[in-house]
Subunit: 323 residues, 2 copies
């Protein structure tokens, strides 16, 4: 949780005046968001989120991220809609940072997802994959399979400082995935980080998807494997197959998985677990003790990876045959 | 800025259901507030602030703080109004912490106050002092003159680690104030921390006063001296007497200072500067490097104190004769 950049009242009022959204009514920094500074903004009779992009987000990627949510929102996905200023511009500057205003989404994220939530997440992910069709910009997955070995090489000599045996777990997994990673699955725009923090629910339905700052072009099945990791494990690291069934059922109610995608799910699940194990391990070792955002425990994903290593059949995750 | 306590969606929904305010629509941690965890809450068609009281606020003081804002709001001061649950209760429990819901105040705090802001702050402080009349509970000022020497004794041997000569500055000032502090000034409920963070403006008027967690019974003139320190200095530590005039003029347009209060302003200003110098010095030396809230620089208040030491006539602060 963090607000990295302070915005003066004078600068804000001047900034908002370039939009056709009325006068500032309220403005508060939000204790959410790891990469950027986010503010609750009330102007006229509406609510918005103002985002200042901090240095971890590459400026060159902003047209992709902002254009994507606009593309998805126009196609009916509930996500923050970027607001254009009077000149039609979306990515502007405030406090020395790139900045954009988005519509506010009602709803709350869930801390302990139910089976029903998993089904809704699956449906939403399927809709997101279909809605991304036709988006003109592309972005490669920096944290995809090609990036894993280089990322590991940056901390491999310290991996066992986190937990004994972690270095061997990762290096042998990298070796396995390099031999088994599928390269012919259906691809498109994926969210790549659809954790419970990033979906809001309201009145028992999905009210919005947020935080597209890892979105990229990659395999749809990999995106689903990220969700499997993020939504279907209990706090004691046990895998809840009923939640897995609900996730896949929800997804397939919108977009049927191909036989190749279904068959690849065990290896995709391992890859998704490894991706978060790698980034969390790196952050764990490289976050200053006085950082505003505490690093997340990497071991959660070592536990998930070890579980996935025990599964060699998609049925073990609860995948049923598609409609 | 901080949210110290996480609130699960389930716990929140259950908590809000005990109020007659409708269903939760949105909920976000706010990156403001040093003592407590604050959340933006939208429920039904209204906006609220949910506060969880962390350990720095004594539970025994909560009836005073919460009762006071209700008393002041009922008398027309714009401040957060505590919301009663269906059983009439205001101070409840959530996430293992005392918790209360307040109405949301529109407006923004100013980072660089103008002369006009100083006048409005003076008026508002005068209204607050009058509105506090009749409030039945009392609370002593823990950070008043009696508390200064004991607080200094907790870090006096380290004071010069902050800045050379600081220990001598503080000890000689304590000695001066012990001889000159007035004990017969008009007293009542004071805010005691009316910094720019704690007043919101909207459409060029004051839209609300927040953060009454240092409020107590003490001299009205001391409260005004806190504002003089907090509002009338420029960022280069120079005193802006035009702002001082505006502050006192605004205050006296609501409540005329007595001759004794006017005469005491030089010593009150020194005491108010010392109070913030002491607490900031203590926090500076005792805040863990990984704390969520960074300590404020005590030296700002050493600079103010040295300025006040050069003033022996209330006219030097811009005080005019009352109406």
């Amino acid at each position: 949780m963090a607000v990295y950049t302070e915005v003066s009242d004078e600068a804000l009022v001047e900034f908002v005046a370039t939009y056709d959204i009325g006068e500032v009514v309220a403005f508060k920094g939000i204790a959410e968001g790891v990469e950027n500074s986010n503010f609750f903004l009330a102007a006229g009779d509406e609510r918005y989120i103002l985002t200042l992009y901090e240095k971890r987000v590459a400026r060159n990627d902003l047209p992709f991220f902002v254009g994507l949510v606009e593309h998805l929102a126009e196609r009916g996905l509930r996500c923050p809609m970027p607001v254009h200023d009077r000149a039609g511009v979306v990515i502007k500057e405030l406090g020395g940072r790139p900045a954009a205003i988005f519509t506010f989404l009602d709803g709350m994220s869930v801390k302990r997802p139910s089976v029903r939530h998993c089904q809704l997440v699956g449906e939403t992910l399927g809709r997101l994959h279909l809605a991304g069709n036709g988006f003109q910009l592309t972005r490669r997955n920096d944290l995809g399979p090609d990036g894993w070995a280089p990322l590991f090489s940056r901390f491999s000599d310290q991996a066992d400082d986190i937990s004994s045996g972690l270095g061997t777990l990762i290096s042998s997994e990298l070796e396995h995935l390099s031999r088994h990673w599928p390269d012919n699955l259906p691809c498109g725009v994926i969210h790549a980080d659809l954790f419970p923090d990033n979906i809001f629910f309201h009145r028992k339905e999905v009210s919005g998807v947020i935080d597209f700052y890892f979105a990229c072009n990659d395999a749809f099945g990999y995106d689903l494997a990220v969700c499997l990791n993020a939504w279907c494990f209990e706090t004691d690291y046990s895998f809840n197959i009923t939640k897995g069934q609900a996730l896949f059922r929800g997804y397939q109610s919108v977009r049927a998985l191909t036989p190749a995608e279904r068959a690849a799910m065990p290896v995709l699940a391992r890859g998704a677990a490894l991706r978060f194990l790698l980034t969390r391990s790196y952050d764990w070792l490289n976050t200053a003790p006085d950082a505003l955002v505490k690093p997340k425990d990497p071991i959660e994903y070592a536990r998930r990876l070890r579980f996935h290593q025990s599964i060699d059949n998609p049925a073990g995750f609860g995948i049923e045959q598609g409609a």
